[in-house]
């Protein structure tokens, strides 16, 4: 790492001002991804602006929504009473990610902004359009076992590695942002991007934007939730595929359902077609299977990840089964 400058910000405005003044500056909060990327030479900010002192850690109900500050720690959110009670899917998803040590350091905002773990992105002597536009996608014809089956382009087939984001996607969260041009909100579904021709842009933030927090609207889907993470070992590993599901079931009919997948795309993958199919239908494995088939529309394997074309629908069915069997 270069010997970068380090400053501590005491207000969001101060942080933003410091950032936009210096094109080589970045925010740092938990650092669990940023410090790693800096050690690998993937990114080399010349100035780090420490935002950990900002008052963005609240977890509370605000106007019928669950508000979680951007600097709330992953571990705190996962275990918070409000979260466990009102949005248990978020709690489950968070607990499936990383390790307790990392969850004790990582923030909600950082979790959203973490970069892909594609080995071609991470290794600076490999071709990667995300890291260095124009150099090619090493994974496309390379070792792509962990890579996307939805929404990819021939420029990039990376996946977003977060578990938390899958839940936030499913729960229709809103991202609250402040920036040089003031405050704004982005629906979670629009926060992360597809790679398209600009894989170097992971999300729709602009330079100088600071995530303030997320809001999750109330729902009736907190009785039947499950987060299934299929991976190559039991814990401390990224998903091959993951499925987040939350349902509102009455008299065996699915009144409302949220369904999203991880490990399959450049952004958390909402399964709207499957949701629409299941709304109003009875709880049955057959219906789950049909929904899963619908969910796979447009799925495409790239060689080493062709197994996901089978694992994904299987996992959707399994997750639905588990969630609907819970009291």
């Amino acid at each position: 790492m270069i010997n970068f400058q380090y400053i501590k910000a005491s207000t969001p405005k101060a942080a933003i001002d410091a950032l936009i003044k210096d094109s080589a500056a970045q925010f740092i909060a938990g650092g669990t991804n940023l410090v790693d990327l800096m050690k690998k030479g993937v990114t080399a900010p010349e100035k780090l602006i420490d935002i950990t002192n900002l008052d963005l850690k609240k977890i509370e109900k605000q106007k019928g929504k669950l508000y979680i500050g951007a600097l709330a720690l992953n571990s705190e959110v996962a275990e918070h009473d409000l979260v466990s009670k009102e949005q248990p899917l978020l709690s489950l998803a968070l607990k499936a990610g990383a390790s307790q040590q990392i969850r004790n350091m990582a923030t909600v905002g950082g979790n959203m902004l973490q970069r892909t773990r594609c080995p071609y992105f991470y290794n600076t002597d490999m071709p990667c359009n995300k890291r260095q536009p124009g150099t090619g996608c090493g994974a496309l014809k390379g070792f792509n076992r962990m890579h996307a089956i939805f929404g990819a382009s021939d420029k990039c087939i990376a996946v977003h590695p977060s578990d938390m984001c899958i839940a936030l996607m499913a729960l229709n969260a809103t991202v609250l942002i402040t920036g040089p041009k003031g405050d704004r909100q982005i629906p979670f579904a629009d926060f992360h991007r597809l790679p398209g021709d600009t894989p170097q842009k992971d999300n729709n933030l602009e330079r100088g934007d600071l995530i303030i927090g997320v809001e999750i609207p109330d729902n009736n889907c907190n009785q039947h939730v499950h987060y299934l993470k299929v991976r190559d070992r039991t814990s401390y590993a990224f998903a091959l595929v993951s499925v987040a599901v939350a349902l509102d079931i009455q008299n065996n009919i699915i009144k409302d359902i949220r369904l999203a997948m991880g490990g399959v795309a450049h952004k958390p993958w909402r399964l709207k077609e499957a949701e629409n199919f299941l709304k109003g239908r009875t709880v049955s494995e057959d219906n789950f299977r049909q929904a899963a088939t619908l969910a796979m529309h447009g799925a495409k394997g790239h060689g080493y990840n062709n197994f996901k074309l089978k694992l994904a629908p299987n996992s959707i069915v399994e997750t639905l089964k588990i969630a609907t069997q819970k009291a």
Binding site: N3, D36, K40
Partner: protein, 214 residues
């Protein structure tokens, strides 16, 4: 160089640096006391202004309590907490297994929470309290978890052991040791290549059952 006081300055950045001080030290005869950022130095070297480029270091002051002792330090921002322990403070008990947050050997407690010191920039811990394996036992007597690891043979080569023990103590304090299955999951952030896992679980379960204060 005189400390720059923030009063009288209205720049947001100076307010940011209320506590931060920057010290610059130059040894080159050619370069004078101006702020030099890394790319500038590199450019200078590249264009060969001075073959013996100024040896400079930019350091940040840091006050941090480690194992009950307050340290007043001046370190580069890029120094990780792990390297601070091992290379500057003669506290090699915390181990480097991967340096990328992937093995847990570097686990310590910061303000009571277990974290990875290899991914922690030490300068970000101003005013915090850190406990390493060297600070776990309070005197000659071993901490109950240390004794439990010995009794249950929860280690072999011993290299991952400090991280395992710091993690294990935190695991109980967090309330994540209610069953063997829970212990396994919540200890999965600490890799043991010698494979002592079942005995580690037994050690933690023993301490939990014993009810001693950890």
């Amino acid at each position: 160089m005189a400390r720059k006081k923030s009063s009288g300055s209205h720049r947001e950045e100076d307010r940011c640096n209320d506590e931060a001080r920057r010290y610059f030290l130059k040894q080159s005869s050619l370069l004078t006391a101006i702020a030099i950022t890394p790319p500038t130095i590199l450019k200078a070297v590249a264009s060969e202004w001075d073959k013996k480029a100024a040896e400079y270091f930019e350091k940040t002051p840091l006050t941090i309590e480690i194992n009950g002792i307050k340290h007043k330090l001046s370190i580069e921002a890029r120094v990780t907490l792990l390297d601070l322990f091992r290379e500057q403070l003669a506290l090699p008990g915390t181990k480097k297994g991967c340096d990328h947050g992937q093995c847990g050997a570097c686990t310590v407690h910061v303000d009571g929470k277990r974290v990875l010191s290899c991914l922690t920039l030490a300068v970000m811990l101003e005013g915090k309290k850190v406990t390493t394996i060297e600070g776990l036992a309070d005197s000659e007597n071993l901490h109950p978890m240390q004794q439990a690891f010995i009794t249950n043979d929860g280690f072999q080569c011993g290299y991952c052991t400090p991280g395992q023990i710091m993690s294990a103590v935190a695991c109980i304090r967090e309330g994540h040791a209610d069953s063997d299955e829970e212990i396994r999951e919540y200890m999965s952030g600490n890799i043991c290549r010698c494979g002592a896992y079942p005995n580690i679980v037994k050690a933690i379960a023993d301490v939990k059952k014993g009810g001693q204060k950890v």
